[in-house]
């Protein structure tokens, strides 16, 4: 029966504001949105599931653009290097808002050494590490350069101060700028973080 006075209301929004041409979305946020997109593409079987489990690094580059709807960022997610020297990659292009525009799989063989994350997958571990930056930048100004200028994330196995196995995400902003190491436990919960000194200039 049709209801003329709906008891429940159907109300939603998508929250993202419109920038002009300046990037009002930080580069760390772009990387986070790209990680969400990788997950989405895997769920929908549009790319191989190995992009969820074997991602080892992400590199962000800027694309010259003149408005808010054309390509502005390219994030390339790489798996580990294969025995034949190739490396599978997934290029994701977004506009200045971080909205997905296109994707392209870079052909390569399976990594020579599997990531072997035991609990959470590589995308989740990377994203959870990234949230240390995104969730704390408002109260920790020292994180602002990472948030604004992030260009590379590398995920690897490591140990924390007590020798426990953790995932280590290395955040880079440029050759001569300070970086950041974020450690998350294998279940994806936060462990620790430390700044990495800038590379000295010669």
């Amino acid at each position: 029966m049709k209801s003329y006075f709906p008891a429940s209301l159907f109300l939603t929004t998508l929250l993202s504001a419109a920038p002009a041409f300046a990037h009002e979305v930080s580069q760390a946020k772009i990387v986070e949105l790209s990680l969400h997109r990788i997950e989405r593409l895997v769920i929908l079987n549009r790319v191989d599931a190995s992009f969820l489990t074997e991602i080892q690094s992400l590199k962000l580059s800027l694309i010259a653009h003149s408005d808010e709807i054309t390509p502005a960022f390219k994030v390339t997610a790489y798996q580990g290097v294969a025995q034949d020297g190739t490396r599978r990659g997934l290029e994701l292009v977004t506009n200045a808002d971080g909205k997905a525009l296109s994707q392209n799989v870079l052909a390569g063989s399976a990594p020579a050494v599997a990531s072997a994350w035991t609990d959470k997958d590589a995308v989740t571990l990377t994203e959870n590490s990234l949230h240390y930056v995104l969730d704390n930048v408002a109260t920790t100004p020292a994180l602002a350069p990472i948030d604004e200028n992030l260009t590379e994330v590398n995920l690897s196995h490591g140990t924390n101060a007590t020798g426990q196995a953790v995932a280590v995400a290395e955040f880079k902003t440029g050759a001569q700028q300070a970086g950041l190491l974020v450690r998350v436990k294998l279940d994806g919960t936060w462990d620790s973080a430390e700044a990495v000194a800038p590379t000295p200039t010669e």
Binding site: F10, T12, E24, L33, E39, S102
Partner: protein
Amino acid sequence: MKLATWHSLSIALLTSVLSQTTWAHDTGRVGIESDVTGPVQAGHVVIKIQMADMERRLPVTDRDIEVVHEKKLHAFIFDQALSEFHHVHPVFAGDSWTVEAELPVTGHYSLWVQGTLTDQMAEFTADTGFDVMGGSEAHLVLPFPGEARIGHTGIFQVTLSGTPVYAGQMTMLGLTLSRMDGTPIEIHPWLGASAHVIAVTWDGEQLAHLHTIETGTSGKLMLHAEFREPGGYRLWVQYQDGSEVRTVPLTLTVLPQPSPL
């Protein structure tokens, strides 16, 4: 987008019972992918979309969605100038949903999809964009022209009444639906409501789908809403008069919240 405002805007809605609404955004539970890889030809546009439930890590099929307001999915398509508008209902077939609309005008379009998952009755929205080429000249994207609380399409007129709207304050607005030729209006329920109001911020980046409530007087409806962000809004009011669904555009200014004395 300004990250500080990422979560800051919502529009709330009251009926006889206050409804708390969870707002979704594009990093929310459901994500969308379309088959569009470049500009589409103007005319009868057919777009296939797929949705992913990011929480369960599964594709969203028609079995995963509740019927709400008589449809499983509601989709809104509008151009960047907020001049073109379509409210359509995607159909599931195989592994994707098909969205169809007549889009004769060139431009950049947003496609918003809105639904409710059977799992936890979770409401969601997801959006994507696409370009239409080869149609009539794109509408100019203009700055907000100011408030226009009277809108009409042909002889069909909607008048929005009520006090000025302030951000962050619950507001009751009156809607009067009428015909400019003086003939009586014949409102019939459409999709489970007397009227649907789709509110979009002038930048086109935020959207709310609201429903009116009847007052008992023919053609007079009420809308309770809270606009948390000041600025200009496009409102499309949709209702069925006689046998036809009418869509009437309006503009609304939401003023900054007054400072406390």
